[in-house]
């Protein structure tokens, strides 16, 4: 059995705490997950875009920021914790395929606001995860990303459309992952892979600028996954009132 500097199934919150206590460095953490991706992803297909150099650079920058920080309290909450982005959102410098063979492979100019918030929260962006085309069906088996497989049983689907996000966390290729849900695309893969899938209340996270999931009734709420520990512990990274959001959050009253 290969020895890693961390348990790759450590929940993101505990990993963040271990990094903050300097028990493990962001570089060691990133290398651990990249190594596991090398080993397991050829079979499972969670990732559709890898950018290992960018990942290592971001992890090194996070390590450098720890040296410079006067105290751990100055660091953002998920400092140095890796998190992959579902391939429906732009990450500056990486292509966005939306799971489609018809998409442009050109790198995105700028990151989606949700991606920027994850980065601001300290996450190291760990590549992009597979989705069915446009996130339209609850499995990923198409020609562009190929077949994503369930780590519990590679003969079964991990569900979708956030297929790669579920696979990555369930297989210990990431401690937590971004995902998106307009019609169960977080909930189905969470169910298929035995994870907690958090779909925040609509409009608690920015859907703009986005594609169809910005449409009012089917709005997507970018969210995250983690191993079965309290999902709300990741909320501060994602759930706050966005600037520039077209629909301000309202109270929980049914009389909206």
């Amino acid at each position: 059995v290969k020895r890693y500097p961390i348990d790759p199934f450590t929940p993101a919150v505990e990993l963040a705490a271990a990094i903050r206590r300097k028990e493990v460095s962001p570089v060691e953490v990133a290398d651990c997950y990249l190594e596991r991706m090398d080993e397991f992803d050829p079979r499972l297909n969670a990732f559709c875009h890898r950018a290992d150099d960018d990942v290592r650079n971001a992890a090194s920058a996070a390590a450098g920021a720890m040296v410079r920080a006067a105290s751990a309290g100055d660091l953002p909450p998920f400092h140095g914790v890796p998190l992959p982005i579902k391939d429906l959102l732009d990450v500056a410098g990486w292509p966005t395929t939306h799971g489609s063979a018809g998409a442009s492979k050109a790198p995105a100019d700028a990151s989606h606001p949700v991606v920027q918030r994850f980065a601001d929260a300290g996450f190291v962006l760990l590549g992009k995860t597979t989705t069915s085309e446009f996130g339209a069906v609850p499995f990923t088996e198409s020609g562009a990303p190929g077949i994503s497989r369930n780590p519990w049983d590679p003969g079964r689907t991990p569900g979708g459309s956030s297929s790669g996000a579920g696979v990555a966390v369930a297989a210990g290729l990431a401690p937590i992952a971004h995902a998106a849900d307009g019609g169960a695309s977080i909930r189905v893969p969470a169910s298929c892979t035995g994870l907690v899938g958090l779909k925040p209340t609509r409009a608690w996270s920015p859907t703009w600028p986005s594609t169809w999931k910005a449409l009012p009734p089917a709005a997507c709420s970018p969210a995250a996954w983690q191993t079965p520990r309290p999902p709300w512990t990741c909320s501060p990274a994602m759930i706050r009132r966005p600037g520039g959001h077209p629909r301000p959050r309202r109270g929980p009253s049914p009389a909206l």
């Binding site: 489609s100 689907t157 019609g183 909930r187 189905v188 594609t211 449409l215 009734p217």
Partner: protein, 150 residues
């Protein structure tokens, strides 16, 4: 940041699919019952009232109007390489005028508020199976159709 666990929550249960013709796998139904028993043993109580839902056909028809525009806004280098099911959605979307689309948005908002109102009136928590089936098997390359997923 620790909070006392909530006590005495009203638990609603929706163990069957509101959509006709979709049965719930016994394993998924069993997971619901296990969860409900766990909640009961933690001091919460099951409310014996079903969640009031609008006719599924009405909701699906309105929602589909919106769902069909799924690929809109995605810049494509080669639209001919879009998968057949998404091409069909795009064609269906283009056959709907803005009046009908707006009706779909309005109806979906109205129906969803009715569901939320019924939920908030009766329950604090609703337990449902996430999936109605076990994770299906992927189709292998060369097969005609993906594994059927309800």
């Amino acid at each position: 940041m620790t909070m006392a666990p909530p006590a005495g929550l009203r638990i609603g249960v929706l163990a069957e699919s509101p959509v006709n013709g979709i049965s719930v796998d016994p394993a998924c139904a069993a997971a619901v019952h296990t969860t409900v028993r766990t909640l009961e043993s933690a001091g919460h109580h099951v409310v014996d009232t079903p969640l009031r839902l609008p006719p599924a056909g009405e909701l699906i028809a309105a929602f589909t109007t919106i769902w069909n525009v799924g690929g809109a806004g995605v810049a494509l280098a080669d639209p001919d390489r879009v998968e057949p099911h998404n091409r069909a959605l795009r064609e269906a979307a283009r056959a709907i005028d803005s009046w009908a689309y707006t009706e779909g948005v309005r109806t979906t908002q109205q129906l969803s508020r009715r569901i939320i109102e019924a939920f908030l009136t009766s329950f604090d928590l609703l337990v449902t199976p996430t999936m109605a089936c076990l994770p299906p098997h992927p189709s292998e390359p060369g097969e005609q159709a993906p594994t059927k997923i309800p």
